[in-house]
Symmetry: C2
Subunit: 365 residues, 2 copies
């Protein structure tokens, strides 16, 4: 059995301990005589799995009591629709901040439902290499929410200061930075994340919603599929239908792993250390460039390029031979991208930098 | 490690061979050095997983070329909304046949989007213990489709003759009978199934759609979330966003297992044999009753009761001690339910009948 250093942007590396436990329990979870995949979601055993997952997540993130947590299918992309469907009131107005592909897609999805959504800030002018100044946005009195994608997986940027929403609820897609560092949940109206980047198996999103934003069916402005109604999911404890029980189970293990590592404070320390190794080297390198503005850097997704597409391709190929895989950048950016989520060990980043140095030496003209 | 006979209605028993393979490959799928859960869905390796899954499914079900197959998140319940959203044309009319809880829920979901949906046949009058005669339904010329739930998990009934739809497309929820026997796909407009009963891990549905029913975005009658648009999923090979890759992977293994067992003809033979053991015994028993009309019986979900709630509860408890678990009936019906999907071995059914006989002997007054 071999293991590689997997820099995939998602689905992505998971803690080896978690994988081993899942393998060990595959035929008999906790003495039940069956896999968690074979178990009714209405059993006491599964109920404990989902309850533990929620309470561990609440503990890790320090989620205030006036926020609800749901585990729902469809990934973050389904939430692109759920956000306007659940949050829009009569005037159906919302302000979006465009900092990359996923905030743009979320905006376009909202436009399906209303013409009154606007982009109030954008970093499109410089191909999303920075986070725009959001201290004074054109928020309107009847805006239902302000929307951001907090960490931009493709472009390697992150909000380090939250926008001034003029008191409107902030909705944040945290997919690629979820649980990477402590956040003050009380500053948000809604936080959501597809789990497949930093938490667990694809096919699920976690949504954290401030209670006062939860609408009764009668107050929804659109004919809304039941499965996309947050209140339905909340009222049924995420068990309105059969949930992605495997993902809940693995995510639950990852939450326990995070706690054992020292929680989000420890995660942040580790993640900043890992990112610093890479960024420090990139600053001194004569071959590679990271085009992101320094104060907009992501500590989860680090993008870089040699500036030469052929050389980039050679990098990706040769890296593979050194067990450094899934490092190719997104086609919108090109070059390379090292996604260094929670489960990427420091050794992986050090191995990458060693390889980068060797490759630089061999290929710098 | 113990294994039980798991009669759960879903999530449900999976082939032990499949579970063992999944456990073995947990840290290193096919020499990739990572779990399938950690792998980008844009890799060649995962592409082969999803392509193989689709081609094996097409082979098993003999799906004609003019049908598309998609693997989508959200389970069958999300399709309750996707069906009207994708199939309704200008008049938004559809005919539903009500044979239990899930057809009723599908009907209610369609009512969210249109007042012009009707129940054209129902077995509600006898608590869904039979499939109504559907040879002459009040189908209207502008009905967009006729809807059935083909096997009723809770009530233990199944359509053995498809309704006469007067040429309208038949939409069938096959969740609890999917791949249990051969079907003539060409008789359907749309077949869909939540996979967690007879195929794989929860959190996914498989949808099979006749090409001529696939609408362009411009022809949709409602503001439709992108993730629920069949055409979007088809055009992107089920990879519009990150799919439930774990479920696709396990389902793919189950498809290969079905092929190795001899395909759907062999499945049917085995499933009929298993069901016959149970039904034959129920016919002779003085303690248990199966209230379902004989020609409406399901071969997947066999319901029975002693007629005494306390005795039923005692049955469930004592069965557990004999490693016969998840046999309690749904609260809408009470009593017991033995779900005997493809992966339930004949030995499991024989063990159940042995236990039933013993319990009958001990408890028959």
């Amino acid at each position: 059995m071999k293991r590689v250093y997997n820099f995939s942007a998602g689905p992505a590396v998971l803690p080896e301990e978690v994988l081993k436990e899942a393998a060990d329990e595959m035929l008999d979870y906790g003495g039940s005589g069956m896999s968690i995949m074979e178990m009714s979601h209405r059993t006491k055993t599964f109920d404990k799995v989902i309850q533990d997952a929620e309470s561990d997540l609440r503990e890790i993130m320090n989620i205030p009591d006036n926020y609800k947590v749901i585990f729902v299918q469809g990934g973050a992309t389904t939430q692109f629709a759920a956000v306007p469907l659940n949050l829009m009131s009569k005037n159906k107005k919302a302000a979006y901040i465009e900092t990359g592909n996923f905030s743009k897609k979320a905006y376009q999805e909202a436009k399906i439902f209303s013409d009154n959504v606007r982009i109030v800030a954008s970093s499109k002018d410089k191909n999303y290499t920075y986070i725009p100044d959001c201290s004074s946005l054109a928020i309107e009195p009847d805006d239902d929410y302000v929307y951001i994608c907090e960490n931009n997986t493709i472009f390697g940027t992150k909000f380090h200061t939250l926008p001034n929403t003029c008191g409107k609820p902030l909705v944040s897609d945290q997919s690629s930075c979820f649980l990477s560092e402590p956040v003050d949940v009380s500053k948000y109206g809604v936080i959501y994340a597809g789990v497949q980047k930093n938490v667990g198996p694809a096919g699920m999103a976690i949504v954290i919603i401030r209670e006062d934003l939860i609408k009764d069916d009668a107050d929804l402005q659109f004919p809304t599929p039941t499965m996309l109604r947050w209140k339905t999911q909340i009222d049924n404890g995420s068990l309105y239908n059969t949930p992605n029980s495997w993902s809940i189970y693995v995510c639950g293990k990852v939450f326990k792993w995070i706690k054992a590592q020292g929680g989000l404070v420890a995660m942040k320390k580790r993640n900043e250390e890992k990112a610093k190794i890479l960024y420090d080297y990139l600053e001194t390198s004569k071959l590679y460039k990271n085009g992101v503005e320094k104060d907009s850097r992501s500590i989860m997704n680090v993008v870089f390029t040699t500036g030469d597409a052929d050389l980039d391709a050679k990098f990706v190929e040769e890296a593979k031979k050194c067990n450094i895989v899934s490092i190719k950048g997104h086609r919108m950016v090109g070059g390379m991208r090292a996604s260094i989520y929670n489960a990427m060990p420091k050794e992986g980043v050090m191995a990458l930098v060693e390889f980068m140095k060797k490759f630089e030496k061999e290929n710098l003209q």
